[in-house]
Subunit: 270 residues, 6 copies
């Protein structure tokens, strides 16, 4: 593949992503979208939130602008800034302003990681005003009809310092995500990694064992994504036990005793 540079708002999902609905999330998202209500996705890492957003972007035929939030992300990063180019000062829209203008889906991943001013810049977009104040320009922009704001976070990680304020939460329709059921997950792993279904089933069984250790030594169990990793290593000829050790156990934890325990679980499966 050649190097490919896209404008942020040109990221359309061209082909239908593989997504298997777990509950009524597709219907509720569409209803919220039609009513101009913003959406909040909650759930553990690697359970399919990103894939769901790619799927909804494809289904609604809108560009998808994803921003991974972090400790240093400010409102300016989202809205835009003046840059000096060749002696001229040019305004460069940030990803949120691009989404507002282009009628895109703006997906702010792990919103609680961002600085507090980002929460506040989305407030007027997340109620019936649907406007984005651009204070550096002294302007307000009204969102395109097709614009959709979606945010996500993982409730399992929240601390008191990094919590969603009620004045933010109470602006969103909230969808909860979790790992898929085992048959569904087996299908996903087989399809994504190329392993045989019965190997995928063993990986899913092993994942379930690690998820039961959550809170008893593991911070999280193995995500669907890790199962796909292990599957790919197996397809490339790595021994399944080594694939589970390097693709799953070592990725989950650094605790030597937990790694031994998790490796024993994988040996019992393979």
């Amino acid at each position: 593949m050649a190097v490919n540079t896209l404008k942020t708002e040109e990221y359309f999902v061209q082909e239908e992503p593989f997504y298997h609905p777990v509950s009524d999330e597709v219907t509720v998202f569409e209803a919220a979208y039609r009513n101009h209500l913003p959406v909040l996705l909650k759930g553990p890492t690697g359970c399919g939130k990103t894939r769901f957003m790619e799927y909804m972007a494809w289904r609604l035929q809108r560009p998808l602008i994803t921003v991974s939030c972090h400790d240093d992300l400010t409102a300016t990063d989202l809205v835009g800034r003046y840059l000096i180019k060749g002696g001229e000062t040019t305004w460069v829209d940030g990803p949120l302003a691009r989404a507002v203008r282009a009628g895109a889906i703006c997906y702010l991943d792990e919103i609680v990681e961002a600085r507090k001013d980002t929460m506040v810049v989305i407030h007027p977009l997340a109620d019936d005003r649907r406007v984005l104040p651009m204070e550096k320009r002294g302007e307000l922009i009204a969102a395109e009809d097709a614009f959709c704001l979606t945010i996500s976070y993982n409730p399992g990680y929240q601390s008191v310092l990094k919590d969603l304020k009620q004045s933010t939460r109470q602006r969103f329709v909230a969808l909860e995500f979790d790992y898929p059921g085992s048959d569904t997950e087996t299908g996903i792993v087989a399809r994504e990694s190329g392993v045989a279904p019965e190997v995928a089933a063993r990986l899913v069984k092993f994942a379930g064992m690690t998820r039961n250790l959550k809170g008893s030594g593991l911070e999280e169990g193995a995500s669907t994504r890790l199962l796909v990793h292990a599957g790919k290593l197996i397809v490339s000829g790595i021994d399944p036990v080594v694939a589970c050790r390097t693709g799953i156990a070592q990725a989950l934890t650094d605790d030597p005793e937990m790694i031994i325990a998790v490796n024993e679980l994988s040996s019992s499966v393979f």
Copy 2:
């Protein structure tokens, strides 16, 4: 709707917003306004403070400039800054200076979230001097006669670190807001979401149950805004129990047991 860009001070509320007075807030606000006294609004999220400001802006026929305050908001953000454009340095008024010049209503939402210098920049505007010092320009501007300063905050959230100082508070006339009475609220929900009045009444009943849980597991009860969200989802064909779960329960809390409890409450109503 096409993308629409307005100058900040051109935001007039064109049509009378739906607003149902709860107490004497409209009369007191008008008296304060006529006497050039600044106003402080107190109350929980989603109970109608923003709508009240839109209503007063319409009633007084003044532009409304809203600033959502946050941890990183500085006096410079409110007053203005020099920007370099095309080799020339241009001064760009901030939203507070725009309001002072245009005789607008400046509404600083959740003022206690802002940095401390913002408190202080409003002091000379909030007493009988009614001037705004613009230190970067070495100037003072006297406020237009029609200028009005309004701030809000939610006393329920305040910590010791984020409190309004007495030297700030004692410059304002203060109005307390709360959720409307149930008949009023039923009318609001029906009107705003389009659900039938008896469905609206059930939603209001359910909201009351969640408000009773405040301090016993919930940080806040469901706001009027969330009831409108659930109503819109119901009108779009989502099952009321699902609408309450995604539009209200999941938006209120992440605690799995509280979500079950709140869902049981909604099931008992629908």
Copy 3:
């Protein structure tokens, strides 16, 4: 009133402000001024410090440059900075440098809120050197003969972190302010708000009750300013009990029980 923009050092108080001396503060201030000694004003919010400064500026016929200090106020903000305008770099004097050059009265309100470098920049101005170092220009400027430095703070608020250092305090003549006696205060409230004297007297009586609650549930009692607010609301036709609730009680505190208690006090007076 049309919008009016003044240079900072052109702010002369044109008409004699209403000010009723409480003790020997006018005489001592004048003696300090004649001896080139800087002055420190101490006292609670809203008791008349700002009005006193306006009065002295009028009496001494000097411009008054007020700076409300805050957490982010730096020496640069006071002294001045280089700004780029049209390709040229221009030095812009800060308010303290303007006062030093113009022989104005510089009033630094709530000085302890400012950053520590501001304390230090005033040290050579606050002893017999009377010079202002402008380090960014590599210059010293000697203060005009008529220049006067005044600072204020509220000792009731001070924490260990925000205290005036001995090396700062021991450069000032210090004047303590407090609420005026009740007859004086009744006269002030009647005159400033337009209420009848006996209504003003009731407001003053009510204020005294709230001041007795200081330290027993209230952080501060009602200031003279708040009484003027309530008086203005009454003159505008608001019921006195409502005027006391919104103009005083809600402005003083957020504690529901204290608000009820304070409202009962106002009901007992009106």
Copy 4:
């Protein structure tokens, strides 16, 4: 050697580095590389992680771009920034963007030391999207097929504040490194430092003694790198006991009693 300046992405490892595989790390790395899976290396300092990366870069014939992470490393440092040169603003790609465009191996050493925004900028590169958002340019770049992301950290050092989040970890295949077995290590030390094999064997024996003191007074035992240092000093004519004191004991700890203890260990060996 003359001073030699290279563009970051021109750093090819020209000659095969000496690397002795300890386990299946070469095979697993290659399988991960072929499957576009990013890799995480874990292990103590000086055990060969950097050498392993040089070896894999040589083996895969890709340029190697190493970034040593630290407390102040931001996403901007990795992605790039605008710089003003001769009146023109030029974009300068950071090392991560250079690697993405050049199809290089990007090795982020001690990733947990970096600021949190760096974690997040690698997320879309570390799942099947393989894109790098360049928010300052409003662009996304798709990674060259040959691009490979590798990160490392030392689990022994991690504190709660500096930990890899599950949403980061669960994107990587993880390889654990440790000191090589004694025969292997003896060979490495002899080859790298030029000491005779039996001197190398004594150094390795001494290193093992210090590694047993880990957690009993030493934070870490002597790394292979320190053994090579001591060997080189010995070859230069320094007495082995002095070489062990200055090349190993003093480099390991400042505790006077531990230094004496470690020196006694080296005297027992030499």
Copy 5:
């Protein structure tokens, strides 16, 4: 006096300042100066350190460059920086560099308040190298022969966080200052304020009483400077008790009981 602007290094003390040596400080300072040894002055606020420096500058006929240190003072502030003026970038020497080049006495007042990088920038000036590294210019400047570095601090204020490191202290000859003996101090107060000697003597007696309260309610006793203030107020016609209250007691403390106690002391004297 007209406004007078001087270059920093042009500040010569023209007339002999009134200074009464307390011990051997003048001789030791001169010996240190002749040997190129830097000097550290220790002592409480207002006891004459600044006056001593003015006296030595006059005696040695060198310009005196004083920098009052504070929390935000950085090495850049002392050494210099590039400024853009009229499209050209100009280097502006900071006060320390000006002193180094001009052979001035550089007096860093309350050095421990400054940021840590300032300590370090003076290290190579404070040993026998006597050079100032200017890292932004990639240069070293050797100090003029007449250059002299003096720093001061008040040991009574030091906290663990703001202490002089041994690597700094052990570069200086250290002189300790304290209040002058009572006869000396009476002479100083009479001379500086113009009060009659017996009034000056009473002020000195009163000061001694406050100094005995140090540590028993007062942070510091009254400095000689405050006595001069009170003397000047008395000469201007203010009653001595009022002069002591506003010029001394209120300047020393905010504690209401201590102010009463100190006022009683002054009443017992006058």
Copy 6:
């Protein structure tokens, strides 16, 4: 001496500095230098580390670039930055880059005081890669053959926050310094200050007494440097007891009781 400005990398030590080896430090330093191994100097302030570096620079005939590290020293300060001069942007190498290009000895004094990114920027210079990444230029520079990296710190001062990480320490050959033996030290003091040998011997005896008080009231004992100071004051005619008080005791501590105790020690010697 006229003011003399040198480029940083032109600082050659022209005349042999007086240095008396204490142990095998010269031999080990030379062996490390020949093997391209970086060196770490440990020891208390004023014991001769700086003089040792001047001596080695003279001996090896290399320029010596010293950087005194501090809390605000960043990698950018060491590596270099773009500066705008006359409309053109020029790259200015920092002292570390100058040393790398010029084959100088770079001495980073008190390295643990610097910000963490400085540690990391020296890592690739401190192993067998010997390259300096200049991320702002997108370049790597290979060190000149003669380049030598030396760092120092004082283990006695280290806190948990300011410690050398194992991944840094384990790249260096480490030399420990301490005060010289008494005969050696007597010779140094006599030679450097010009006092007669028997006065120097008394100063050294006195220093030993203060060093015994380390940890029993004194943070450090008197360094050799302080003895030279006192000697110089004595040669200038200051009484030895006064010279010890101002040149040593007051420089060591602020504790009044310790100063008395130390003064008694000096009186017992002179």
